[in-house]
Amino acid sequence: MNLADFGRFSDPALLILSSLADGPKHGYGMMSDIETMTGVRLGAGTLYGALARLESAELIKAIPSTDRRRPYQLTAKGIAALREQLALLQKLASTGLKRLAEQ
């Protein structure tokens, strides 16, 4: 699954997957975590737009909860997709930094 298929939701999708990398979170938990982690504050519409797509692509899944807030966690497919995206970004970052250093 390529996150580029998520259109304008591809960046929020990556942020959500990264936020869920250390365990399940509900909507507000993800929003706060992403803001702490990156300084980006996702709007509720953007968050749930990406979240619905991630769930339909089976990259995340909802887990049972006793209250109305529903937590989500990464699936095996989601972990693989996140790993792939982060490796790509790491490669891009190291290449970019290397090129800057050569200047």
Partner: protein, 310 residues
């Protein structure tokens, strides 16, 4: 109704059933500014645009393109039938018939048109049958508001048949359709053409709307006692391609036939032997123009589908 409920209600029903509750809780915690509300408005718009949640954008794009291809080819085929009737009217009781029989190239080109029309018809029927079955079944089960659209082709056909039988009755019991044809007879014949053309246009629009309204990407079919899930648009693509190729071949054969007939006997194209005693040349020109438009339309449809393959 508070602002949060109002914003949640902007989303499609299916989306609300799945995410409505948790989304409303989230809004209690993070709806602080008009910018937050604007973000939700965009989110709701996105949710409405992305209808089935189990599919992704690239797949949606492919399905939309395949669907429009099928619509293009179907509309082109209906136009081709009109052109075919015009060509048939040109041949009816004309010296072009013995001329065609006497020349091998003319015979082959005309036979090519006839064979092409049968192949195109079969292709449209084979490709369209599962699609038509799905549409009919869904209209009767949960899209009852589209029942009217479903009856347009049927009603058009019944009106055409009724009118035709009325003409047969008049032909046997009165003199209005005797040769030389009277102005009343001519008016009746034009009535038949008008009903046919109006029915063809109305039916094409109705089928177009039915396909557009129905999500028929795939369906379950019982074939020879076995159930099979087929992707309807992909299944219909190959017959649509065959129908389009048939239209191209028929168009070329018509041009060859017309050009050679005119070269051999230009006198046969003078006068008013066209459909409804219209100009022979005008009738043939009409046939060619309609065939050109139909063939180009069908080819554009196929090109559109080919650009969507993933």
């Amino acid at each position: 109704m508070n602002i949060r409920k109002w914003l949640v209600n902007l989303y499609p029903r299916m989306w609300r059933e799945r995410y409505g509750d948790e989304f409303e809780i989230l809004l209690e915690e993070c709806l602080h500014s008009p910018l937050d509300a604007l973000d939700i408005l965009f989110g709701a718009l996105d949710a409405h645009l992305e209808l089935p949640y189990e599919t992704n954008w690239r797949l949606m794009n492919m399905i939309n393109k395949l669907r429009s291809t099928i619509l293009f080819v179907f509309a082109a085929y209906v136009a081709f039938i009109v052109a075919g009737f015009s060509l048939n009217g040109l041949m009816d009781d004309s010296q072009l018939v013995p001329l065609t029989r006497s020349n091998p190239v003319l015979s082959i080109s005309y036979a090519t048109i006839e064979i092409g029309s049968v192949i195109a018809l079969l292709a449209i029927m084979i490709g369209g049958a599962p699609l038509a079955w799905t549409i009919i079944r869904r209209v009767f089960t949960f899209q009852r508001k589209d029942l009217g659209l479903l009856f347009v082709p049927l009603a058009s056909f019944l009106v055409l048949v009724g009118y035709f039988f009325m003409m047969v009755y008049l032909a046997f019991n009165t003199h209005v359709l005797d040769q030389p044809i009277s102005s009343t007879g001519l008016a009746l014949m034009w009535g038949l053409i008008t009903i046919f053309a109006a029915g063809a246009i109305a039916s094409t629009i109705a089928v177009w709307k039915l396909i557009s309204h129905t999500d028929v990407e795939q369906d379950e079919f019982a074939l020879l006692g076995k159930s099979a899930t087929i992707k309807l648009y992909e299944f219909a693509y190959r017959p649509a391609l065959i129908a389009t190729l048939s239209m191209v071949v028929m168009f070329v054969a018509t041009v060859v036939w017309g050009w050679l007939s005119y070269s051999l006997r230009p006198d046969l194209f003078i006068g008013n032997m066209g459909v409804m005693m219209t100009s022979t040349r005008g009738s043939f020109a009409f046939t060619l123009i309609v065939m050109t438009i139909a063939t180009v339309t069908a080819c554009l449809g196929i090109i559109r589908a080919r650009s969507s393959r993933i």
